[in-house]
Structure formats: structure tokens, C-alpha cells
Amino acid sequence: MNTELLGIIATYLLTLAIAIPLGKYLAKVFAGEKVWTDFLKPIENGIFKLSGINPKEEMNWKQHLKALLTINMVWLVYGFFVLLYQDKLPLNPDGNPGMSPDLSFNTVISFVVNCNLQHYSGESGVSYLTQHFVLMFLQFVSCATGIAAAVVLFKAFRDKTSAKLGNFWDFFVKSITRLLLPMSLVIALILAFNGTPTSYEGKDQFISVQGDTVNVSRGPAAAFVAIKHLGTNGGGWFGTNSAHPLENPSYLTAMVELFAQVVIPIAMVIAFGYFIRRRKLAWMMFGVMTIGMLLLLIPTLSSELGGNPALAKMGISQTTGAMEGKEVRFGPALSAYWSTVTTIISTGSVNSMHDSTMPLTGVWQLLGMMINSFYGGCGVGILNYFIYLIIAVFISGLMVGRTPEFLGHKVEAREIKIAALVTLLSPFLILAGTAIASYVFTNYGEAAWAVQPKNWLNNPGFHGFSEMLYEMTSSNANNGSGFEGLGDNNVFWNVATGFVLMLGRFLPIIGPIAIAGLLGAKKYIPESAGTLKTDTLTFSVMIFAVIVVLNALSYFPALALGPLAEYFTMLK
């Protein structure tokens, strides 16, 4: 078999082999059961003591949300000012400037919400201080926020009726000490010994073989790249993210980085099953998500391995597939796999430039982000899936003519309203955002911004429209990848995507937690013959249908105007 395809299969199987035991372990950690990492307890107790937190204090769902939103607000304020004044702070060996207010606004929101959109370039836009003390810090804590939020949802369905849902700080700190920090350390060391720099030295200079003077950006990237993937953040140390040879030196590191971004999202699904003692339900969820992934991955592989038809017409050989924007050491197959997982899982790191992928690949990338729950980001993937699940429960209930129930709790008008609002939010933000951007591009081309609207697009025609659609979709999904040709470092994109990012993050966290909190507090109804079972194959098909129908109805017109139109013009 082809070594490139074998590489993908091996990477996925390796991920699965570790994700399953990791999921069991996480369920135990968050249930407070004994695990082998309990030797870390003194460190956690120290953290709680220094922070004045009592980790045993039970919270209801509203208190959880208050704690979550408060600490996120603290990070927003802290990060904004540090980025603004990074030029006046230490650890800036390359002498990079402070950020403009709109760029700082966008950057800090983008990292707080686990998106990492990056309208700056790593080599010239940030200092080592801000890379570590703002960006890497936020990569840890935004991921831990997502995981803690998911655990609140787990808690709501563990017992028959419960308003007490554990302690937010406890879940949050344990996500870091028991999961993110130890695993990041291991991954960072693997990267460090395979070529990713770790030292704090600034730029280097050398004279090349042909006599050119070359400056090389470096810096302590290994620690950063580890959590960037593990936390499904995706923001790169260098401008070109994991395509950069220092950020992702070899095929081995690419496999490790791919493993790191997929492992926690899968483990969380497994953990859900163990935590609420309904493993079959979790395996069904896993099944739907995996089939969803394959349905996006296989056509992506086919269009990338097939090469660019326009280059084929020129008569060159494309046995290695489409190579524009790709690195030789990864090849098109691994790059295709990467582009699929990074979009379904909301990582948004890239090892090839998505702007240069084939038009149909663009469709699958966009769809992955629009659906945003085939595994999905750390913690939030499950929350997004939960919304689809509630909608599916509701529709199935209507079809069989019974009051819809989920795990013994009646799903009533209030819950459905919340789920419907969250569902409508994504298309609203993506489509309205893209429409406004297109309007500004067409009518205000001369606006005196850092990048004039008429110069926003790096490609003409349908592909240019796709660049704007992709940026809005990526922001709403908190993904962070981009069609990077877009001239996005200006006040319009910085502010517009800043708001989309914030709404696209917090409402889809608040909604599911509210629903779970409301449901968990309701009286438990024992299962009867008339109960709609949610862990069956039939119901899984139902959820899949809901996902497909909702997304097709919302996004087909926009996809038709962008990548699909480009695809058909290339067929000519």
C-alpha cells in the first residue's frame, strides 16, 4: 500500500489507541475517583490555596457560568494591554513593535476563545514575552475552560436528579494539571529533539552557500507548539504555522502534532460515556462523528491527490498530487488529512496553505467548520454535538407523538428554544458577516484602512468570495485557520471577527450548559416501553440527518457562490 496513505491510517489508529484509555482516565479524574496521577494533588491544593478557592464548594449551572465568564473577562483585559505594550516589555530580542488597538483586540479575543485567528505574523508581530505569557497561557486556559464546561454537562446527567454540578475551578485546574500540562511536556520534548527550537535566543544570521545573507527567526517554540495542538488552539509560533520547518520539522513530528490535536476531542467522548455510565451512548456518538469525518476526509484526499486540473492541462506530472502551498516532507495525503481534522476539530493549525487547496477541498474544509462537532474542539465539540442531539430528540419526539425525553429528563419548550437559538446563531454570524464584508468590498473599496477593501482579496472571482466566507466561518467556529491570502489586518476584519469570535464562543457554551442544568434538575422519569432511546442506531442516523439537513439548508447557497462555483468553472 501507498506509504502516504499508510501514514494517515497509522496516525489515526495511534490516536485512537491512546484516546480510549485516556477517556476512561479522564472520567475517573473528574469523578474524583482514584487515579495514578493523584501524586499531583499537593500541587493542586497549593494552587487552590494561593487562589483562595475551596474546590469542594458545589455550584449550580448559573454559578458555573458566572465563574467561567468572570475569569475569561480577566484574561481579555490582561492580554489586551500586554499585547498593546509588548514593545516596552522585556523578552523582545527581535525588537518587534506593539500591536495596534484593533489588532490587540482581535488577537486577545481570538486566543481567549480558543480560536487563534492570528491577523499578525509570528516572526514580526509578537515578542517572546507575549508568545508565552499571553498566547501560550491562553492556549492552556481556553482549552481547560472548554473541558471544564463539558464536564459540567457530564455532571448534569450522571445522577438521576441533580442541581449540584461540582466546582468549576476544580474541573478547570485538573484539566491543566492532570491532562494538558503533563501531555504538553511530553510532546514538547519530542518536538525539541526533532528540531523545533527551545532556546530564548533571538534572530540568527548566516551567509548561505550561494552567498546570500539570511536572517532566521527562532525562539522557544517547542513548548508553545505542543499545547497549540493538544488544546485544539492552532495558533502558530511562526507565520506559516505547522508548514514552517522549525515548527513541524519532519513526518514524525507531523504525526505527533496530528495525534495531539485529535486525542482529547475523542477522549472526551469516551469520557462522557464512562462518566454518565452509558458507554453505548458514547460509542454511538463516536460512530456518528467518525463517519462524518470519513465523509469529509475521503473526498478531500481524492481532490488533493488528483492534483490541480489547470496544471494538468499544462502537461506536467502531478503524481504527487497538488503541491501549491504544500511541503514535500508531508506530501498531499497527510496534508489532506490535516486539513480535514484541523477544520472538524476547530484546531485551525495548518501544514499546508488552505487558500491554495482545490475548490472541492475548500467545500469540505468549510463544512467541517460549519458543522463543528465531528469530534470538535476540546470540550466544546461535545457541547456543539449536544445541541444537535437535543434538536434530534425534539424532532423524533414530534414524529412519534410523545413528549421528548433525554436520559430520563423531559425536554420542554425552554430547552428547545435555547437549542434553536444556538443553532440559528452560526448561520446568522457567518452569512451576515460575509454579506457585510462583500458589501464593503464592493462599495467602499477606497476606505482608508490599513488594507484598503479593494486590496483585501488575493484571488479574483469566486475564490475571492471564498476567502471572505472562510474567514467568517473560521471565526464563528473558533477554528482559526484561514484562506490566508485575505488582507485581514485592518480595522474592519479585526473588529468584525472579534465580535463574531466572542459570540461564536460563549453563546454555544452558555446554551448547552443551561439546557443541561435545566434538564439535570428535572424529575427523573424511569425508562418505559414508550421511551425514545438515544443510544440506538436508528437515533444515531436521526442525529446525522439533523446535522446534514440543518447545515445544508443554512449554507448551501453560500458554498455554491464560492468554492462550488469555482469548481464548476474549472471543469470547463
Partner: protein, 188 residues
């Protein structure tokens, strides 16, 4: 609310120390024992640094193997791809120009011999590698410009081709810088 705010601020401060001081310093300390001591693996020639093993550099002279086109001219302080879409006419004209240049310097080539990686820009603009096929098509030109036999150069290409990981996973690649330095050695 006030209670949560105070707790948030204190927890943030504690975690800043753990995650942004302790963690990266451990990694930096361990990384000091890697090749290049954590600053990136350098390659020296006659005691002078001539490049980084992982970072591609520009080769355009006829006696060297050439790397891939770069959207940023191999600027290792500002990586970047072209971000050109597949149907962009202007981009297709550039590719077509690259094919013509290759054919001009390699008159023995047919279009169908040219692999895509030689006429497309890499993602980072710093790709240190080319495919095996991309090295093979350049052998004749390099040999002719150095007064070497095709066979000697071809052997060197084979020697500098790194196979898939563990022989099973991923593509075969040729590191252009290492190959060219090996060529310079051969001359002596």
C-alpha cells in the same frame, strides 16, 4: 461576583507562573541537549555556518540542485506561501513561466517529466526538500556544469534521498542543502 473576580485574578497569577515560567523553562533546559542545543540545527562548512538543516535556502546557480519556488524568496524571518487559488489566471501564468524556465535550463526534459513540486511554491516558503523525481531531472544539468559524470551525481542523489519514516510512512524526500554540500565535497 466579587468573590469570583478575586479568585480569577489570583488563579490567573498562579497559573502564569506554572505555565509560562516553570513549563517552558523545563522544555528549554531539556532542549539544550538536542542537536543545535535548542537554537535549531546548524550546518557548517569550513567552520562557518552556511545554513540550517531544516530551512531551505535559495539555489539558482547552474552547478547546484535547485529547491522549490518560494513565495517569499526563502526569507527565514518572514515565512509565507503564495496563497494563490487553483484557478487564478495570474498564478497559472507564473507556473507556466516556471515550466518554460525549467525546460530552458534542462533542454533534455519533456513536460511530463516535471514534477509538480518544482513549479509550485511551498507552504512555508522555506521547504528544505524536493521530491526524488525533482532531483533526478536535474542530474544531467548539474553533472554537465561540474564536469562530473551523470552516474556520480545520480549516486549522490540516491545517497541523499531519505526514505519514508521507518520505511512505511510518508513520502521520500531529498534535502537540497545537504545534497549540494555533498556535491561541493565531491569536487575536491
Amino acid at each position: 461576583m466579587k468573590k469570583y473576580l478575586l479568585q480569577s485574578i489570583r488563579l490567573t497569577a498562579v497559573l502564569l507562573v506554572l505555565l509560562c515560567v516553570v513549563y517552558p523553562l523545563i522544555v528549554a533546559f531539556a532542549g539544550g541537549f538536542s542537536k543545535g542545543n535548542g537554537g535549531g540545527e546548524k550546518i557548517t562548512k569550513n567552520g562557518k555556518v552556511v545554513g540550517y538543516a531544516l530551512i531551505g535556502q535559495n539555489f539558482s546557480k547552474p552547478e547546484y540542485f535547485w529547491g522549490r519556488p518560494s513565495a517569499v524568496g526563502y526569507n527565514a524571518a518572514g515565512s509565507g506561501g503564495s496563497n494563490k487559488g487553483p484557478s487564478n489566471e495570474e498564478y497559472l501564468a507564473v507556473v507556466s513561466g516556471r515550466i518554460d524556465t525549467l525546460l530552458k535550463y534542462h533542454p533534455y526534459l519533456k513536460k511530463a517529466d516535471i514534477p509538480a513540486d518544482m513549479v509550485t511554491a511551498s507552504g512555508s516558503g522555506l521547504d528544505p526538500n524536493i521530491s526524488e523525481q525533482a532531483a533526478i531531472i536535474q542530474i544531467k544539468r548539474v553533472a554537465a556544469n561540474r564536469g562530473l559524470t551523470d552516474r556520480a551525481v545520480a549516486e549522490l542523489v540516491v545517497k541523499n534521498t531519505e526514505g519514508p519514516l521507518l520505511g512505511m510512512f510518508g513520502p521520500s524526500v531529498v534535502n537540497v542543502l545537504k545534497l549540494n554540500l555533498a556535491l561541493d565535497e565531491l569536487k575536491k
